[in-house]
Amino acid sequence: MTQIDFMGKRRIAYAVSIILAVVALGALTFKGLNLGLDFTGGTQVEVRYQNAPQLDQVRERLEEGDFGNFSVQTFGANTDILVRLQQSFDEGVGTQVVDALRSAGNSVELVRAEYVGAQVGDQLRDQSGLGMLIALGVVALYVAFRFQYKFALGALISLGHDVVILLGFFALLGLDFDLTVLAAVLAVIGYSLNDTIIVYDRIRENIRRSQSNDLVKIFNEAINQTLSRTLSTSGTTLLVLLALFFLGGDMIHNFSLALIVGVVLGTFSSIYVAAAMLLLVHLEREDLIPAQKENAVDDEAP
């Protein structure tokens, strides 16, 4: 079996984690998330041209149509145009935009039109933030119940690490953060936790089985034992995510990107952050020993 001294290099990992987290927090504070329509409210209309149009001409048309403040950008292919309007919502705004663009004799087709009231957006934003916190809280409780509170602390910090860096990644690159990306972030919480639990499970088992007090050695062993599993699962998950990213279309582009980054982060954090945290919070053999009696049966092969 491979024997990599993971814990010996933990200080490098700390440094990497801290740098990433600081950059992420910086991006979140100074640049902020580029919240999508779902959270801000507003109007957006996607149209498809037969032939790629000049963006300047599209803007001119819209200015003539008196649509107030708007922005125009291409969406995926250069025949697809995404128009964002600021709240000037009216009966069938999608059709209005298409009519305005069509007036020049172009062949334009409405792909989708969306309007979200600002109030709904605000509410959704609060709800989503709350949802994320509840998810973290419930998960921490479950880990504390199944393992021990120090494990819960480690899992929580590791999840926080993943979420902050993932959000920071989106803020730094200015990518649109909409409901599907939020779903992806929550899925990442689930995935990363899954990974963390597997490592913790092995650590618990090894601590109970061995007589040694050398936690660093026990951790290394546990991580190495689960390493090939961790890489296999991350590998298959990444494979399907790459399929989604390249083939799934623009509407789930950011969704799959968030998951790809999240899976990489989750794999890293379950090895370094989650396990290494247990050293920082001074996990001791005694923390797990009282439970040994009822679980001792586990260790005997039937």
Partner: protein, 614 residues
Amino acid sequence: MLNRYPLWKYLLILLVIIVGVLYALPNLYPKDPAIQISGANASATVSGDEMNRVARALEDAGINVASRSIDNGTGLFRLASDNQQTRARDIAGELLGQQYTVALNLADSTPQWLRAIGAKPMNLGLDLRGGVHFLLEVDMDAAIEQRLELNASAMRDTLRSEGIRYRDSEASDQTLSFSFASEADRDRARSLLASQYQNYSFSNTDEGRPGLTLSLNPQAVSEIQDYAINQNLTTLRNRVNELGVSEPLVQRQGPNRIVVELPGVQDTAEAKRIVGATANLEFRLEATDSTPEDQRQTFSFRNDDSRRAALERDVIITGDRVSNASTSFDESGRPQVNINLDGQGGSQMNRASRANIGRNMAVLYIEHRTRDRTVMKNGEQVTERVPYTERGIISLATIQSALGNQFRITGLDSPAEARELSLLLRSGSLAAPIYFAQERTIGPSLGQQNIERGVISVIVGLLLVVAFMIARYKAFGVIANLSLAVNLVLLIAAMSVLGATLTLPGIAGIVLTLGMAVDANVLIFERIREELRARPIQQAIHAGYERAFTSIVDANITTLLVAVILFSIGTGPVRGFAVTLSLGIITSVFTAVMVSRAITNLSVGGKSIKKLWI
């Protein structure tokens, strides 16, 4: 013996797989593009005659009809190709006229024997089939205000008939207030009203004139709100049915919101007008010279702003009492709306008209609308929604004789207006005004594209995982892949049976689940490999499965917790993702633990093998 299941366990697993396959099967039958023809009201049913006419018209237009059928008075034409669907609807709609509703439909082509066991394909979400999604907000304050006005009108009636003189009445912010000439009048009024209106709490005010303030109980307020939203739901369902949309969704969301989804509808403007119309009618007598000043209200005419008329404040009946309405033309060819009232409305109308022959009665058209206004608030541009009510007289005519429960309204601008008014009167008015809080329109091309891309990424993702597992675990990789296939079948079956709606994020959820589903098997196989170093083969297999079990359960329960939270906070597409993820976790634990174990037991269990291909 080690690694052998008793026979019943194999049979049970086999049974689950067979049931899964059966219920997943309907998804393989593509839905046929179709048009559906139904009668616009209960008296009009579709007969073979209409079907023949439509069939001939479609044939003339060069549209290929695959098959046709009539079921329960509803006709269905299945078309050969879906790009002729809209044209077919227009042709049939023009031919049959107002008496029938023609709707686009996707007809289920599941064979009879599958339908008999209740198997049905998954519903496709709006993002996959195109359509309109509205989130409507019900204006609760207006609902309460309306109820107050209605009660105030009845109270004034009571006071007048008892000969109690009151000065003025006012309704605002969940309270009604009256003022009286004397304290004796006030006390009489109080005891009279208190016995009839238990929903209010009464209090005296003594500033200036002796006054009486009635405020709604909190319980009554919440009852009114519940009534308002339920009434609106019913009305919206009626209207959506009149629109002729197949498989529409009208659903309450939260305390004061309603979701309306209309698959296949592309003309949002029309859909919005019908769904969101808050038009209602009021019938009132014209004021006479003897009408006291505070009982008059002056309105202008709808089609002529300069013409005005003073009406009495009391309403004879409102549009809620209309039981049926249809359009036709009067002798001189102008559009008119024929109205039937329900029993109570009829007798109210009869009483009022009999006592007032020779006076004028007005039909008042009321519409609640909003406009957006941009204001500066704390240095930021904020858009405020300002509700306003438009009231206009559409007709003012002399009462010639006592009216019964049938009469007609003239004075409408166009046949289209008459049609819309009769539709609105038929489907009922909204108990409270509604506002559009959110709107999404998905074009049909995007839907088609989303489906294709979703299917391709599922297939490619699946193939990559299959290849990876075989490369890494050889023979056991095949076992994992078999259980993965079973997993996919069970997941689709579960989603179909539960009636879950498949959305694009839902497909992403399936793909993600497939990637993660092998995790449990990976855990087991890695464990078996480890155990092989210390134990003989059969014991290693057994220990591998046993030892990995706690890890699998812990890991999946936590993910399930997250999925449940995702479901409870999410809306629309995100919920679809959460449902897929949760079901995927459950099926993957079953397949990884039970199915893969069964295959392992069957193939290598209890046999003396020298080497494991793992």
